[in-house]
């Protein structure tokens, strides 16, 4: 087994989750991730942890077979009982075919997600970690060789996360007490927003592995200006490119996209909150140096910022501000590596991807 797999497992067990004796663990993984699951078992045994492997959400052929033969769903009480008695949860992305469920009816998918929601809430109420195994199908999605993708994933994951935490805390210290953020890139993006009163969080590889961003929520009605998201995004298995949004009083008042604009319109029309930003994130993981059509990595890419229309994370909304409670949360990315800057309360804190504290 590649030694980086055992290293990956050790980051999950000792950094992301900090498992301890007697913990009941559930690992949800597709068989392509078998090596990582084996390595996790070695460590689980050593730490006195009780693991159970399931293929709940990650058994993609099973899910497809089930969803194509059923229209109504209930929340299964045996799966709920399992999650209720569990102390920690690991989901390992890794596919045999990332488009395996592409011929499932979207309404069926929505009904299934609705029935699974209590299970999701139960899982998220425990310490959890979402990570990635560099399977061939995921390499293909990233348009990379499998070996190249392995290097990419393990470089991004197997890091000194304490050093990352410390490095990123410099940006948290700038953004957390701030009022106005001004983001400019070329002549296509020029947007201002307030983050006053909203906490900035430091993502150093706990719930998401890789981590590597600092993020907060914009004050709902404060966003003004235009943004061109020059990195593509995947939504419901379809690519949307060249998204341009214009904000007035926080709301998206006009929008366009080069590809799949109708899908973008559908997203923005979901509900009231879907036309307002719910997240501003700053990608700081420079080991993620390319776009791989996988938001777990893309949004942490160095030299980028991302904004999400829709739902805000509860922890990023201060007591005096209102939380965006939209049903959607769609992240979109702006390249900040060239001809770009971020100003916080009038001070330039990043220019062409370099932070003020890195100079």
């Amino acid at each position: 087994m590649d030694s980086r797999i055992r290293e990956h497992a050790s980051v999950v067990v000792d950094h992301s989750l900090d498992l301890s004796e007697g913990d009941n663990l559930v690992i949800d993984a597709h068989p392509v991730s078998e090596d990582l699951v084996v390595a996790l078992h070695e460590l689980a045994a050593d730490r006195g942890v009780n693991p159970l492997v399931v293929q709940d959400r990650l058994g993609e052929r099973y899910t497809r077979a089930y969803l194509r033969n059923r229209e109504e769903f209930e929340t299964p009480s045996h799966v709920m009982a399992l999650y209720e008695e569990m102390d920690a949860y690991i989901a390992i992305r890794g596919s045999a075919n990332v488009t395996e469920t592409s011929d499932v009816d979207p309404e069926t998918n929505a009904a299934y997600s609705q029935a699974q929601r209590p299970l999701l809430d139960e899982r998220l109420s425990k310490p959890w970690c979402l990570t990635q195994y560099p399977a061939a199908a995921n390499a293909q999605l990233a348009q990379m060789s499998t070996e190249g993708y392995e290097n990419f994933v393990w470089d991004a994951v197997n890091k000194d996360w304490d050093a990352v935490k410390e490095h990123q805390s410099q940006m948290v210290d700038i953004l957390d007490p701030a009022d106005e953020v001004h983001i400019v890139s070329g002549d296509t993006t020029d947007v201002r927003m307030s983050v006053a009163g909203n906490p900035t969080l430091n993502d150093y590889g706990e719930r998401n592995l890789p981590g590597g961003e600092v993020f907060t929520a914009p004050v709902a009605d404060s966003v003004e200006g235009e943004v061109l998201f020059d990195k593509p995004l995947y939504h419901q298995g379809r690519e949307i490119t060249g998204v341009s949004l214009r904000f007035e009083n926080g709301q998206v008042v006009s929008h366009s996209a080069e590809k799949n604009e109708a899908l973008l319109t559908e997203v923005l029309d979901t509900d009231e909150g879907a036309r307002y930003l719910g997240e501003l994130g700053i990608g700081m993981n420079r080991d993620i140096d390319r776009f791989t059509y996988n938001m777990l990595f893309d949004e942490k890419m160095g030299d980028t910022v991302h904004m999400a229309v829709g739902r805000a994370y509860e922890d990023t909304v201060g007591e005096e501000n209102e939380q965006n409670e939209s049903a959607v949360h769609v992240d979109m990315i702006v390249d900040m590596s060239e001809d770009s800057y971020i100003e916080v309360d009038g001070e330039r804190v990043q220019e062409d991807g370099t932070f003020i504290f890195e100079e």
Copy 2:
């Protein structure tokens, strides 16, 4: 997908378990059995059943990694909670390597099994089905090509089990009310035993799939004579061949084996019950026409009888008789196809493999 896989799934769902709307199902399977698990999901969806796939006992690499790094075990409460809320259980044998756990310390294995015992008891308290997927490693164990083994497995499994039930009931009708059974094969096997008061059960593919035997328990102290078990058996991953046992007042008073006799001695020395028979079974599945080192199939082979030293099944012991409660239950097989007969209360009911009701 081979149409016989969907047929196999349909036997499990509609015959063996008879699943119905709202049932919570757990499927324990290795990824090599994926096609059968997919087919089970299609049917589960159609029947309104809620499936969860786990790799609890059947994730062989996970089990090995866990057992080689741990010595003491507890019964995990989250797995217990899952099984308690479950309505039905399917275990699908199918391996990537049937000797995957061969370098696990036997004492560790025993300690693990001990801790898992409450989970086993919980599973066995619900409707359950143990079946086989014809994976390449299992074909190798059987010394067959994968395609040849596929034919073998599906011929044995995809049958008209109602017809089997009816056919086998003729043997149940003979054995159930009987007193003495006399089994003779060549000049090496000549044994008499009483089955008086002990019910004979008809195995037509419910808990074991394939099924295909009728079985009961001998009255403990009634067994007299000699038996040469001329088919090999596998115990703890080791083959024992040419087992010969001599019984007096039900007890094994002398024994020998051509290969691994010491292991046989170990079995017989386990406890008091290990020197007495706990089962007499008559294999009646003629689609199982060869020995495959897999007791799920071997004991149902047509033209054979098997006897197990050790534990008796509770349902096969009448109220007036005592149940053999040994910790072991080791099946051993006698070929009855040539120069052999079975007499029940003095009447010859099988000769050279042909039953009286087949003439």
